[in-house]
Symmetry: C2
Subunit: 292 residues, 2 copies
């Protein structure tokens, strides 16, 4: 039966172009490679190289086998990377629950870096409304939570303030409130407000309800779509709203009591008294720089 060493010899010979060079590279003797390839050829009953020329050249069949051999060796590298990862105490998986309002462009940069730094650790991202995330962290079903803070602080989980996320009040371009200047709270009351609400603690809303009539969704993308459809007005994360404002799909509202964009605090949640591995820790540190 052929072994991984045989496949490695084969691939390396193709790479370097000669048995001798392959042997040097793999720290073996030339005859070892020569015999190794020969025995691989016997095992597979396939002639891999044409030895009639100066340097052994791949046969058509050999190049077909080569693809498979390389593929196997890549997987072996992955396996070795995984064991190295285990030795460094890295987790098999990092589970992150985050509010969809926080899907900032910079987040994708962080995810990308994560994939390079911890290639064998998988990342499980759940997009969940902020109010629901605390209990997930508390129960250990996720490692990290990324939320827009609630009014009260839950002492059973660790909080880390990382900045404020500006929100804009927006409505559709043809909404009755669209053109109006200096809106007061009273002006808003008659119009439907679209709010984020978690599924678990229905009463605990992160945002103040201003209008008498409110509709709820548990995802900012849904709210976004509803605003564009003219179903109501809402506070949306500035980075989300600005895209749509630029496309003239929605419009910022001119509200008298919003001198500056309303910017609720953003926090990372972790369970207390839990030991996290380096990947979770790394992610935690990176998320601290999520906002600007």
């Amino acid at each position: 039966m052929y072994s991984l060493e045989h496949l490695r010899m084969f691939a390396e010979t193709v790479e370097t172009g000669s048995f001798s060079a392959c042997a040097r590279k793999l720290g073996k003797v030339q005859s070892a490679v020569s015999q190794g390839i020969a025995s691989l050829e016997v095992d597979l009953d396939v002639e891999l190289f044409d030895r009639s020329t100066r340097k052994p050249t791949l046969t058509a069949q050999g190049s077909r086998i080569l693809e498979f051999a390389r593929s196997i060796l890549r997987q072996v590298d992955d396996l070795n990377a995984a064991t190295a990862s285990i030795h460094h105490g890295e987790e098999a998986e990092v589970r992150l629950a985050m509010d969809s309002a926080l899907a900032l462009p910079h987040l994708h940069r962080i995810f990308h870096d994560f994939s390079e730094r911890f290639p064998t650790t998988s990342l499980d991202v759940a997009s969940i409304a902020s109010p629901d995330i605390g209990s997930l962290v508390k129960s250990g079903r996720v490692d990290l939570g990324l939320i827009i803070s609630e009014a009260e602080i839950d002492n059973e989980v660790e909080h880390c303030f990382i900045g404020n996320l500006p929100f804009h009040a927006v409505c559709a371009i043809d909404h009755p409130l669209a053109g109006r200047q200096q809106l007061s709270m009273n002006d808003l009351i008659p119009y439907r407000e679209l709010l984020l609400r978690g599924s678990e603690q229905a009463g605990l809303d992160a945002f103040p309800k201003m209008s008498t009539l409110a509709w709820f969704a548990n995802d900012y993308r849904t709210i976004c779509a509803m605003v564009i459809d003219g179903l109501g007005w809402a506070y949306l994360p500035a980075f989300l709203a600005e895209d749509w404002i630029a496309q003239a799909k929605m419009q910022r509202m001119n509200i008298r009591f919003d001198h500056k964009p309303w910017s609720p605090p953003v926090e990372i949640l972790t369970a207390k008294e839990t030991t996290h591995g380096p990947a979770t820790w790394w992610m935690y540190e990176e998320l601290k720089s999520l906002i600007e």
Copy 2:
């Protein structure tokens, strides 16, 4: 260094639940498996099984490694399938050039069957206008050609007639010719006709040019889009046109001299005096039944 046998032992032990069962299945002795797994654990420096219980149970680390091991073994199976394929004389690749007018639904069934019967042989499908295919077959750049016949027969390639493909004359729903009854050839002349034309032999058109003004494309999908856009009328394969007619994007023209759908012959081309492998041969046979 661990070997494929080690990985196989590991995977099989997990599968069967015990070292002994694994040994029976792999035709070894129990102690060989016991030692094999132990040496794998030393090589990786990872404890794969928890031996404290009755039957060895995977550790968390073990299950992480297992995924990689299984993946490697799957690839090894693929490599072995490829060598078996080589031994059966199967080709690494079958190259098919076909007219886009012949992308019948049944063709996908044939491709699917091909992938199951020749899993390690790849298929290269080029969508090329019929007039250009002959020379590709002749020069050996493709193994099989699937064309709508030209008037004259090229004696340097092998022809196999497999049926007739009905064409409908169609135009856009709002085209001037759309509603008219009993169109004669003279009625068509003033309106732009959209024709298929190959890039190589520009003069050799498979279809008669009726209108004074004609536009050309080398792909029926393009012509389809042009008809829908109202750029002209065309003969389209019935199976293609019917989809769009059902969606009221185009309309069949009522032409006096077309009592029945115009149905040019369809042929398979192969190079003369070439030896093809079983995969090409199989494809050839299947394509014979392409047209019902």
